[in-house]
Symmetry: C2
Subunit: 404 residues, 2 copies
């Protein structure tokens, strides 16, 4: 069943699916002349499913997009970097709406068919004169092969573009799912200063799309952590314009699962790119908790480990200091029994029955010295499992974030 | 009523109260020849109240001391630094008991009259031959003016001794409360890698002492945070030997409140010393939350702010980046309304109605550039208040903790 496998699309991104155009321009929000404004436009109205930050302090564009994504179809998304438009009051809401109005007018669509996103520093108003001009300029540069330009325009402290796409067949026709994302500080479960835009030409209705996106977000962006901070602007938006022309992908469609799994794979790949490009990181670590009483406890245990500054700085030094992991498990809130805990570094036993194993420390050091490794924690108390992809905490992270 | 005020005792510490001796020696647990073993001994059996880590992974000495402190009076405490004796299984328990046995035998007391504490790296067994010799040596060096030696012997990454004592009058007699403590990483509410020993010659029964200690711990050590980690070994122990010879300090005694308040002051001072000596810190920040719906919400809000790596690195750079504080409040779990939030830096308004105030950024920068300042967050939603004393997060912190 070769046709049922999804394949990675080399160089793919947010314009890989049929009928999506994008553009990225510099309009002067950022001081250095870098790109800071992007448009994503679908040729036809698209179904939308979105996930927004759980932070009670929500940026103005988040408030506006939450309303617009609830009903009706979407033609486009306008995004800026360099200013979060958060903590900006009613003026900020007006600015977000103006961004939508400009884009909608220029592209002869209705404002309610638009979504808006911002990312950058909190508390500053947008330079709206520049933003208006930027939107006009971007609209003129829209193209079907322009995803990379848009991916560059949404970057803040990211060091590289994050794009990924996959393609598979449904009813004999090609279906593509592609996307772009930005990190890279303030990344923690339940979103991050993190934006992700995914487009697909799949034929799917709003309800089915929403359930797929909910699951994909839970499996991807809710399982990464760089610094434990959840931002005011985090957003994942998925547009499905149906231009592949297949039968409708409902739960009884034989390829519905393939669609859902591919969406998860695309989002997981983008989430991993965010972690790998985390601010100043030197190590990417998969923290896997098994054998917890239930999934909630597994999650608590994993969260405590990935949030511990002591655990993360030990990784920076290549130190397999599992004692700090034991301490984090102990205060995590998960119901653990010290005597039952096993900890593995890349499959090598470090802790057994809550005490040091016989594995030579030199062997554990070798693993902790790698730029990628997996820590598996087995609590031997039940069937609950959870994993989080995280990073170490480096002097470089402090250096990046202490400046303005 | 001059007699009712407590005065600071210059150079005071754990042997300032009548009838307490102490000693601190080097026995070779630490590799550098530094002091690593301390004894505190009361001439007569003393009432005891203690608070232990809430971490489910408890070090062996914590398990033993929890039992010994529950009933009966205490003659002495034996403490080592350089090894936490945590995650060491039944062997570790045996080691902790052996420490007690050695001390009790040497000083002709009963083992159940002793408490034991350890601090240092998790997962290593104690070098018991050295520890035994160290206890013998320390017992010979016990003296009534030796508190500083003991304070030095319990240090790990601390850069200075932490001692403090106050004296006041009850029924015409002098009563002294003195103590010593150690930090300095893994410091977070509900204890830290933090040990604190307080001695007093006050006449007080176990129940009254316990209630005073509970309140003092809540007002001091549970309100400091360096890095958000709660350790396996945290302990506060208070001994009251009654040698001041006053009437019993019960709740109806006119000076009972004075005793309680002085205990709070001594513990708060020691807690502040721990924060000020936090690993690699450059700033000490008082985070005060007011106007929360209740004290629980105030606590959640304060905890989120002091745990945010982004907030703490901004302080390191002297950046009054209140946007990161707003974001932390938003995900804290406290019920806040963005439009109601006010934030002050040392009394200077930075945020009003959730938006930037008219205070020039230069003025805020001047405050954030200081080595000590207060951030007051007013949520304008109720009467809940909570404050936590914390630090910034520096490159130096990472450097200290990434090594072994």
């Amino acid at each position: 069943m070769k046709a049922m496998e999804a394949k990675t699309l080399k160089g793919g991104g947010v314009t890989s699916a049929q009928g999506f155009q994008a553009a990225g321009v510099a309009c002067g929000i950022k001081s250095g002349g870098e790109k800071d404004l992007a448009l994503i436009v679908s040729d036809v109205p698209a179904e939308v499913a979105a996930a927004f930050t759980t932070n009670l302090v929500k940026a103005a564009p988040v408030k506006v997009s939450m309303l617009h994504s609830r009903n009706g179809r979407i033609r486009g998304i306008v995004v800026n970097s360099g200013c979060a438009n958060a903590c900006t009051g009613v003026g900020g809401i007006a600015d977000a709406k103006t961004m939508i109005d400009c884009a909608a007018r220029k592209l002869k669509t209705r404002p309610r068919e638009w979504l808006v996103c911002s990312t950058g520093r909190i508390g500053n108003r947008l330079p709206m004169a520049r933003v208006r001009k930027g939107i006009d300029k971007a609209a003129e540069k829209l193209a079907y092969d322009n995803g990379s330009e848009a991916a560059r325009a949404i970057m803040t402290t990211d060091t590289r573009r994050k794009e990924f796409a996959m393609r598979f067949k449904v009813d004999g026709r090609k279906v593509t799912i592609g996307g772009m994302a930005k990190g890279s500080g303030m990344v923690h479960p339940n979103m991050a200063t993190m934006l992700c835009f995914v487009t697909t030409d799949a034929c799917i209705d709003k309800r089915a799309l929403r359930s797929c996106v909910d699951e994909a977000v839970e499996q991807s962006f809710n399982r990464i952590s760089v610094d434990g901070d959840t931002s005011t602007n985090d957003t994942v938006m998925v547009l499905a314009n149906g231009l592949s022309g297949t039968n409708l992908l409902k739960s009884y469609h034989p390829q519905f699962t393939l669609f859902k799994e591919t969406l998860v794979r695309v989002m997981r790949k983008l989430a991993r790119m965010i972690v790998e490009d985390g601010e100043g990181i030197s190590r990417v670590v998969d923290v896997v908790v098994k054998g917890a009483i239930n999934i909630q406890d597994a999650r608590l245990a994993a969260l405590a480990v990935v949030r511990s500054e002591l655990v993360k700085t030990a990784w920076t030094g290549g130190d397999p200091n599992w004692g700090r992991i034991m301490a984090a498990l102990g205060y995590s809130g998960a119901r653990i029994r010290e005597e039952m805990v096993e900890i593995y570094y890349d499959g090598l036993l470090a802790v057994v029955n809550g005490q040091p194993s016989k594995t030579p420390v030199a062997k554990l050091k070798k693993i902790a010295g790698k730029s990628k490794f997996t820590i598996t924690i087995h609590l031997h108390s039940g069937m609950g499992e959870y994993s989080i992809l995280t990073t170490d905490l480096t002097e470089e992270y402090v250096r990046i974030n202490k400046g303005e």
